[in-house]
Amino acid sequence: MSEVIIGIDLGTTQSAVAVVDSGFPLLLADEEGRSLVPSAVWYSKNGEIKVGHDALRLAGVEEVHTSVKSLIGRRASESEGGLMPDGRISTAAGLKLPEEISAEILAVLKRIAENRLETEVIKAVLTVPAYFHDGQRAATKKAGRLAGLEVVRILSEPTAAALSYGLDRLDESSRVAVFDLGGGTFDVSVLEMREGVFEVSSTSGDTDLGGDDFDEAIAGFAAGKLGLDLGEFEAMERVQWISEGCRVKLALSEAEEATFRIPFTGEVLVSRGAFLGLMKPFLARMESCCRRAMLDAEVTGKDLAAIVMVGGSSRIPMVKDRVAMIFEQEPDLSQHPDEAIARGAAIQAGILAGTVREVLLLDVTPLSLGIETMGGLMNVLISRNTTIPCRAGEMFTNAVEGQESMKVRVLQGERELAKDNWELGSFEVQFEPDRRGQARVGVEFRIDADGILSVLARDVASNVDTVVSIGSAAVDVQEAKVEQMVSESVEFAFEDMNARVFEESRLKAEELLPAVGVALEQAGGFLTQREISEIQEAKERVEKAIEGQKVAELKVSVERLDDVTESLAAILVEEATKAIFSSPQD
């Protein structure tokens, strides 16, 4: 019998482990028959640890660490306070790295597999959101190692879901999209399936978008209705409100309305319509990713044979509706939203172990890889959606005579300016002393099948390759920026605040006043007479306030004008959106 490799879905809110048995992927359950393990960890002061259901039971009473996945491989500055400056999380048992906490969950999954399979398990395939960058992938791999696992592959989640979907359809040739909306992350991939080869054409996503955001939005909405501010709550209270937000969200997938209820504080009735309003910005971000993925794959909705939806949040009706609208077809809900990814991970494990034959996966790197050039621009070496493993070379020469080394910053992302992309780190290229332009070092960038980068430098004269270690970005750019902003704000504190407020409002007014005229001309026909006169009144009020140089009045009246023109703005945006997404030729 060949060795066992397990497939693990390490999710934001829950995790699962699966294995291929007689060619079919099976989820493995714990002693109580539960195959989904909540991604929750609790520590006591003296080092006691509880994981999963046992940990979750203590939530709201004690500090339980959930959604750690949203912090893994991140820098403190990106974490909105979730991480200490050194990248650790404060727990009852001291400071811990996110990967150390995730390792506790992986260890439990490993034990479940060992109990079920009655054998020691060492090797595993771990899944990550497709849109995870190098640092997040590397940290996830480390979490596996800390749990005593040899991670034989880091697999993208939507790709895993596609494997699960396609295993029964190996003889078909088709293009499909996978839409994966989980607890904390969102991915969308377009794949081509042909004769057992699953080839990813494009992938897009947002690693900060998922069900957790919707829970928080509902909690914030309810707090607002009760005259409270979610931002000012204590940590425990916040957890309670957000988990009630989650309950309401789930209820709204079944019912038209649900009551948000916090004992001794109050109740708020939340309708689907109100929820839709809260979801709008999130739905727009999802749509943007979906359009990007289709554009990159050069397909339209009609070219796709199926839109496979997975992830817990794909149960939300308005998400399904939006998907149907974007892809111009009803989504395929045949895959279990919480289990498909673990099954897919098990299939990839089976491919690597040799138990699943005649299936091959060709995945891509989600983000472009490049280096910073003079002038702070990003020079792309490997563009996004390149099949992995892949490599690219770049030649460096000395710019002045006798130059000993040069620093190369490695970046990941799609923005033109180097500073807008994620900095992987930097390394030094060492030169032999030589005349200007004569010392040459070739550097090869390799992205392996896990989507993780390694760098090799080749001395052109001796043809010797050396592995270059990439120092993580030691100076956190973001933090330096924050510091600068703080010191600036201290200097400006003594300025006349009134002048600033007036100036800001005036700028906004100068934009709004002419815009009102143009907008009414374009779309006034869609408004009622009452709406129009409301807008006119608000406009006149602003004009008077500017004339009279009244600071407080200008601020209030500009805000009023901004509010009353909201539906007018929405109509114009909708018209523009319709125009850009209509396919002209067909």
Partner: protein, 189 residues
């Protein structure tokens, strides 16, 4: 360089069907993927060969190199291609200034009023894209005659077509990116 035609097993021709290249690339990828016991270095070479052959601009460039012919990057560019340069540049600039203005707008109505320009920009992008595509197809149509005459006989013409295609490919990519930026700015709220 390694001959990309030989690597994935397509005939040594410029006039190839996309589907045929895809088919050969798929078979070669299956045969040499490290997950199925293949050699990683060879797999990387095969993928690179696939990338070259799938792009007409890179394919003709590779043909010139494989045949040992001269290629001057700075040589003459087909007049038609030059003509389109200002068209491409102006529409790209329009999109860029729209995106930047929109990101600076302070109010939703301010943004919305700018959005009135979107259908026009989209139309311009499509118009220029279509023109480029037509020219692209016309230039690819010459591949067949190069095959028939023999590559060695068409050194000058092939170089000129290659240079033209390199520009067209680059511009098409930029237009696609501009299209993406346009809708991202719109959906970005």
């Amino acid at each position: 360089m390694t001959d990309p035609f030989a690597l994935i097993g397509v005939p040594r021709k410029l006039d190839l069907k996309d589907a045929d290249i895809d088919r050969c690339l798929l078979v070669a990828s299956q045969l040499h993927h490290p997950d199925l016991g293949g050699d990683q270095d060879l797999f990387l070479k095969i993928r690179l060969a696939g990338e070259i052959l799938n792009s007409p601009a890179k394919r003709i460039r590779a043909a010139i190199e494989c045949e040992g012919l001269a290629f001057d990057e700075r040589g003459r560019i087909p007049a038609k291609v030059m003509e389109y340069f200002s068209l491409v540049a102006s529409v790209l600039q329009d999109v860029d200034s729209f995106v930047s203005e929109r990101s600076k707008a302070l109010s939703s109505l301010g943004k919305a009023v700018l959005d009135i320009r979107v259908p026009g920009l989209k139309g311009d992008l499509e118009l220029v894209s279509n023109k480029l595509n037509q020219l692209n197809s016309a230039m690819i149509a010459s591949f067949k005659s190069f095959d028939e005459k023999g590559w060695a006989e068409c050194e000058v013409e092939m170089s000129e077509v290659a240079r033209g295609l390199i520009f067209l490919t680059k511009w098409s990519g930029q237009l696609r990116e501009a299209n993406g930026k346009l809708f991202e700015s719109l959906l970005g709220g």
